[in-house]
Symmetry: C2
Subunit: 243 residues, 2 copies
DNA sequence: TAGGTTAAATTGTCTAACATCAGAGGTCTG
DNA sequence: CAGACCTCTGATGTTAGACAATTTAACCTA
């Protein structure tokens, strides 16, 4: 394989390998995979291990398994980059092929409000940093960002002007953001934000209020993002649970 | 177990059983589950089957497994009913503890537009049924619905006035909706819809444009739903992929 | 031709064993 | 007594092989 650390569990490596083979066209859409017995021989793992990998790939809708028939590559190619995949605003702008920029508005340190205490599960004397920025794409303002983060998570002398808060946290502290719970709200007009983003009167805003957690489920960052609806498009894959 | 059809695969039943036991408090947060050997004996399945179930529960972030240590219930309580879980508008209203109703506005049969042909992958002479309804909660209008569905998927004499289109499709045809791709858009004011939903001027709308598919990835239903933003709250769990 | 039967292929499930890892506790040594 | 090291134990990870259930297609028969 590659130089990659393969000290990870075997079934994870198998998952990556099969995904890779699908992406590179070894197995094509709707095509039948080799039988489990055959495939386990090819990959040099036991059938049980292969099955654990296949189960997860099925759960992720990458493949479909049919009892007595076989395992097939699922169609559904590029539904990625949906909203269920968390990425920083910086990444979103870059993925759209545009150059991200930041207009720094303000940063203040406050005591924690009652809401903050609930959100971050902290004491009343915990200090919270509040950063206010406008994100731009090729110089054009597209997102208004309000970020709240407890000071204890930040080293002293951190530079808030730097583009990505996600990268900041990754580089300057050891807290990687693992997931977030996002609340989605529409907003017709906001007295302060709409003019900042230079919105036409008929352009609505999509507001994402997000609580970010690290891999230990500790709340790290709360953010409110106002997206110009004509500059961003959000979608999500919704799965049915019952029947 | 219950009266439920247990002709489904064993590992799926095990998943449901464990989820149920977590919800009902048999296993509590952060608590250690019995060992795989023990648990497989309790449930009356083999360890291999149990492991397939546990793998998926781990993938779904319900449990955490640590080699050489054990399996633990994850914190993360009730993040369900997020938007990534597809349910009909009827279900959403019911889950809010209110009584769903329908105001039937119109239904027309049209030829397929170019857009329809692309969406449903059908020929130009395919006829499309267009249904226009207002959904109510305890009599109050909350969602404006526009549904497009190819006539070939519908038996003759189907009753569109009946509450849930999802259930209609399930009962009167054999096409169960399995998933949908939803595009999310904010809307400040809509000339036609806002008055129908009796929106205050400052109340924005959240628009969900959704393509629904059955389990064979066949496009079945296209719908545009306008939600009154003060009556509905949407959220989604966003996971980080890289790092 | 129509319908039933059989056989082959494939996924689903089970059993038993060994490998690997992490933690607990004891032992040795400075 | 403290700290490093060892060993034992219980847990998950992995393997091998077998049988069960299901689907499909080929075959046979009336």
């Amino acid at each position: 394989m590659s130089i990659k650390s393969d000290n990870r569990h075997l079934y994870l490596q198998v998952i990556d390998r099969i995904k890779h083979d699908i992406e590179t066209g070894v197995y094509k859409e709707k095509q039948k995979l080799p039988s489990e017995f055959e495939l386990s021989k090819q990959l040099g793992v036991s059938r049980a291990t292969l099955r654990e990998a296949l189960r997860i790939l099925e759960e992720e809708n990458v493949i479909i398994r049919r009892h007595g028939v076989g395992t097939f590559v699922n169609a559904r190619p590029l539904f990625t980059s949906g909203i269920e995949q968390l990425s920083s605003v910086t990444d979103m702008i870059e993925q759209a092929g545009r150059k991200p920029g930041t207009i720094f508005l303000s940063s203040t340190v406050q005591g924690s409000t009652e809401e903050d205490m609930r959100r971050f599960q902290c004491s009343p004397d915990e200090e919270i940093l509040l950063v206010e920025r406008v994100r731009t794409a090729d110089g054009e303002p597209v997102v208004y960002c309000l970020d709240k983060i407890p000071c204890k998570y930040l080293p002293k002398g951190i530079s808030y002007e730097y583009e990505s808060l996600f990268e900041n946290l990754h580089n300057q502290t050891n807290r990687d953001i693992a997931y977030a719970v996002a609340h989605i709200e529409p907003l017709g007009y906001h007295e302060k934000v709409s003019p900042i983003l230079q919105c036409e009167p008929e352009t609505a805003l999509l507001v994402l209020k997000q609580m970010h957690f690290d891999k230990n489920d500790e709340p790290v960052l709360y953010s409110i993002n106002y997206f110009k609806s004509d500059k961003f498009s959000f979608h999500v894959l919704r799965k049915r649970i019952n029947f």
